[in-house]
Amino acid sequence: MRPMIINVLAFTGGFVIMAMELLGGRILAPYFGASIYVWGSIISVFMLALAFGYLLGGRLSLQRPSLRRFGLVFLIAAVLLYPLAIYADPLMQLVFTYVEDPRYGSLLAAALLFALPTVILGVISPYAVRLRVEHVDQSGSVAGRLYFVSTLGSALGTLATSFYFVLWFEINTIISLLTLTLVAMGALAWFADR
């Protein structure tokens, strides 16, 4: 049961990360356009945030790791993600006013909007590895399986968002749904921990 729950959590983490990255392009376009450097900004910010998230996740996994704490990571990510639905516009307006160059404007805006939640979402993978590894000799196979499910989640998050979600929902509705999903995952981990 426990390994299954961790897999589901890793999958969802991957899903949310890529769904958000894809929405990033839509969120920035009204202020910074759809030029190639806008995507450059978004992808760089997500990569950097994930890099630091992995470091942080590794560090946190050293301190009495538990499924309950893992659930807390999801709840924190949710708390950091949701404000995007409210503050994205005034924040981009501010950046737009002060930064003339749309390259650095989009980079700054992407960093302000997406860096924090993405760092926390980056914690998920290494932490999940720690929770599932019981012996050193299986660490590689556990890590491989977790990369597999979380990247599968990323692929599905990308497809679902670009093919269907943007056709069915407004951007803010999608952000709300992703937030709710993170909360549900957090609750699942929290209550599954005995």
């Binding site: 376009a29 910074f32 759809a34 030029s35 943007v166 056709l167 951007i171």
Partner: protein, 301 residues
């Protein structure tokens, strides 16, 4: 089938193939820019800039070298109908350059005007200069930038235009952030009180309903000018109240001779400019929050 008949069929096929080849034109230059593939084709005197190999595509830019002023396509000619609402625009904004035939014609026709062109793809600008003889100058300025960003900055600078031409959609791809109510509101704020906006958009597909509602939500009633097969439709909207058909007829009479060298049948437009709400009024308005234009367009056509 006896061998000679088969051979004749093959010859016929080859003939047909070569004839279509001529109609499609010979590709004289291709370019993979950051945003699209651009093809320059030549057939006889006709030189074209295309954005996809598909035939019958709606947005391409051509000139006839034997008569370079003449506008080759119906939709380009139809975009001149904006002059019926404001015959002497001083400041003009053109969004989406293509071969630059439209701004060049306007610059020649209105010697006192000042024209700004916004184009996202620098390769398009370069090819327009190389192949279509486009020359920029103080009266004809090109800015390589995303149109949404340009519009927002121009509004902050307090710039105003008498005529805005939106022609940013190719057959393959619609920049979705240029088809939302917010973008139209931003563009409307760039218009002078007599300002007119002319948009080259889609006549067929589900998008027609969505887009019509979106324009109406920002501009109120507008004029709809469609090509004979409805594949293109030109939206003409204004900040002020729309003139009556009689007023349009009067303007057309004044403009008729000036527009003749460009092949623009301006006198035929007033009665073709429809005020009918011939779309599904329940279709959702496209906004920055909801703008799946490319998906909606693919849904049915």
């Amino acid at each position: 089938m006896s061998p000679p008949v088969a051979a004749r069929k093959i010859v016929l096929c080859l003939l047909v193939a070569s004839v279509t080849q001529i109609a499609a034109g010979r590709v004289i230059h291709t370019e993979h820019s950051l945003y699209q593939n651009i093809l320059m084709t030549e057939s006889g005197n006709r030189l074209c800039m295309k954005f996809s190999l598909r035939e019958n595509q709606r947005n391409q830019s051509c000139i006839d070298r034997s008569d370079p002023r003449k506008m080759v396509f119906g939709y380009t000619r139809m975009m001149m109908s904006g002059l019926l609402l404001n015959p002497q625009p001083n400041r003009i904004l053109v969004v989406g350059m293509g071969g630059g035939t439209l701004p060049m014609a306007l610059a020649e026709l209105l010697p006192d005007s000042h024209i700004d062109i916004v184009e996202i793809d620098s390769a398009v600008v370069r090819l327009a200069q190389e192949y279509f003889g486009f020359v920029s100058g103080p009266r004809l300025r090109v800015v390589v930038q995303d149109a949404r960003v340009y519009g927002k900055r121009a509004a902050l600078r307090g710039e105003r235009y008498d005529l805005i031409l939106l022609d940013a959609f190719t057959a393959d791809y619609i920049p979705e952030h240029l088809m939302t109510a917010e973008y139209l509101a931003e563009t409307r704020s760039l218009l002078t009180d007599e300002g007119v906006i002319v948009a080259n958009t889609f006549g067929i597909s589900d998008l027609y309903d969505y887009e019509s509602n979106t324009y109406e939500s920002i501009f109120g009633p507008f004029l709809n000018l469609k090509s004979w097969n409805s594949s293109n439709r030109i939206i003409v909207a204004a900040k002020a109240t729309l003139p009556s058909e009689v007023e349009l007829e009067a303007r057309a009479t004044q403009l008729k001779s000036a527009l003749r060298p460009y092949g623009v049948p301006i006198h035929r437009y007033p009665q073709r400019m429809s005020r009918k709400r011939d779309w599904d009024a329940s279709a959702r308005i496209l906004t920055d929050q909801y703008s799946p234009a490319n998906l909606l367009r693919g849904a049915r056509s």
